[in-house]
């Protein structure tokens, strides 16, 4: 564990989170036309970029700040698997259903 060897790793994660957030805010303000007008998987490229950046930030918080990366494999899996399986499933069902109701309203 890098923990005992100082605090540099904390500041490294801090800068990563800060830069990713800054990129999100800048993209959110300028909203490049190319990214808005092209879509993939039912949403614009810009939204996909936002979601990917969010997951990167979440991974750094959970793995580094919450030290999940240092826990044993069994604990890692029992925490991550329910989230990785259930959340996309619920999301798929509800967003699909919402889109359908929009169509028939």
């Amino acid at each position: 564990m890098s923990e005992q060897s100082g605090t540099w790793w904390i500041w490294r994660v801090f800068w990563i989170l800060l830069v990713v957030t800054a990129v999100e805010v800048i993209l959110g303000i300028i909203k490049p036309e190319v990214l808005i007008n092209n879509s993939l998987l039912g949403t614009s490229l810009l939204n996909l970029i936002f979601i990917i950046l969010t997951i990167i930030k979440a991974a750094y918080i959970v793995m580094e700040f919450m030290h999940l990366g240092d826990e044993v494999k069994g604990l890692k899996l029992s925490i991550l698997l329910p989230a990785i399986i259930l959340i996309p499933y619920l999301m798929f069902i509800l967003l699909n259903e919402g889109h359908y109701i929009f169509g028939v309203l």
């Binding site: 923990e3 005992q4 605090t7 904390i10 500041w11 994660v13 801090f14 989170l17 800060l18 957030t21 800054a22 999100e24 805010v25 993209l27 959110g28 303000i29 909203k31 939204n47 936002f50 979601i51 950046l53 969010t54 930030k57 979440a58 918080i61 959970v62 700040f65 919450m66 826990e71 044993v72 069994g74 604990l75 029992s78 925490i79 329910p82 989230a83 259930l86 959340i87 619920l90 999301m91 509800l94 967003l95 259903e97 919402g98 889109h99 109701i101 929009f102 309203l105």
Partner: protein
């Protein structure tokens, strides 16, 4: 650490440490898993609403343009600041946990204190934002079919009803009714209304749409100038987590000062509250994306 050779056949019946994590830490993790699923349920419900009402949903950077003490439009800046405050308080929390591992009492006090300060600043910012929206930012109009529509200026940008009728939004006894809006529309043709299908009407056509419509200023438990949304519900639930996090931080802050953990020989309690605090930051990362960016 338990010796595996001795406890090999007694795992889970005492003596062993499942997952090599202490009881408290393990239970905190499982609580956080269930809380994460609760938040996911709420955010997915929000996604459902957005897809269901995708034509009437307000555009985030037309809505979040406020900044305390400043007039004018500053899209995204205030929420970027709030995000920065929460990330920063997460960093001071890790630093406190880190010093706890070294049994460095005074440094733990310093970093925990700064984390509490960050938590309060975030809560204050959120209270200000709620206050601003509950009071009313730009105002909306509710049509008889319950669609919430908005006023636009000559560039078809979302415009403030207060500015349109020339009333300061923070003056006393504001009373704007639909006739004031009709009057402004008829006397000044730069203004228009934007219907829920995004078409923009000006002049007579706009006025004809507004029969039996109501002006909605701010938000209460029944009406909201932005229409359907779970903004208060989800940011409120998150804010409640921040608040309980601050309370937990204050309790362990007092214990650290009193030397409770120093006597105990370890600062694991700081670590456990730290897990909760990082989780609060984690949830905000998602709330930030889905309410303010996407």
């Amino acid at each position: 650490m338990a010796d595996n050779t001795i406890n090999q056949n007694k795992a889970w019946s005492g003596g062993d440490i499942p997952f090599k994590a202490s009881y408290g830490k393990l239970m905190m993790w499982f609580f956080l898993v269930s809380d994460a699923l609760t938040f996911s349920g709420f955010l997915c419900a929000y996604g459902f609403m957005r897809f269901k009402y995708s034509n009437v949903w307000p555009v985030a950077d037309e809505v979040f343009t406020h900044f305390p003490f400043l007039k004018g439009e500053y899209p995204m800046l205030f929420v970027a600041l709030m995000t920065f405050i929460l990330i920063m308080s997460s960093v001071t929390m890790v630093l406190a946990v880190n010093e706890g591992h070294k049994n460095n009492k005074n440094k733990v006090i310093l970093w925990l204190g700064l984390t509490i300060l960050g938590g309060f600043t975030f809560l204050g910012s959120q209270a200000w934002e709620w206050g601003h929206f509950i009071h009313g930012d730009k105002g909306g109009i509710e049509l008889p079919n319950h669609d919430i529509i908005h006023v636009v200026d000559s560039d078809a940008h979302f415009y403030s009803i207060y500015d349109m009728v020339g009333v300061d939004s923070y003056s006393e006894n504001i009373n704007i009714n639909i006739d004031d809006i009709k009057l402004a529309l008829s006397t000044n043709d730069v203004f228009g209304i934007r219907l829920s299908d995004k078409t923009i009407l000006r002049g007579e056509k706009a006025i004809n749409q507004l029969n039996d419509a109501k002006v909605v200023l701010g938000a209460n438990l029944i009406r909201n100038e932005y229409g359907h949304q779970l903004f208060y519900f989800i940011t409120g639930f998150h804010g409640f987590h921040v608040f309980s996090g601050v309370i937990l931080l204050i309790i362990i802050f007092i214990n650290v000062i009193k030397g409770v953990y120093e006597k105990r020989g370890h600062y694991e309690m700081v670590e456990k509250v730290g897990l909760y605090w990082h989780f609060v930051d984690l949830v905000w990362v998602f709330v930030f994306t889905f309410f303010y960016l996407v």
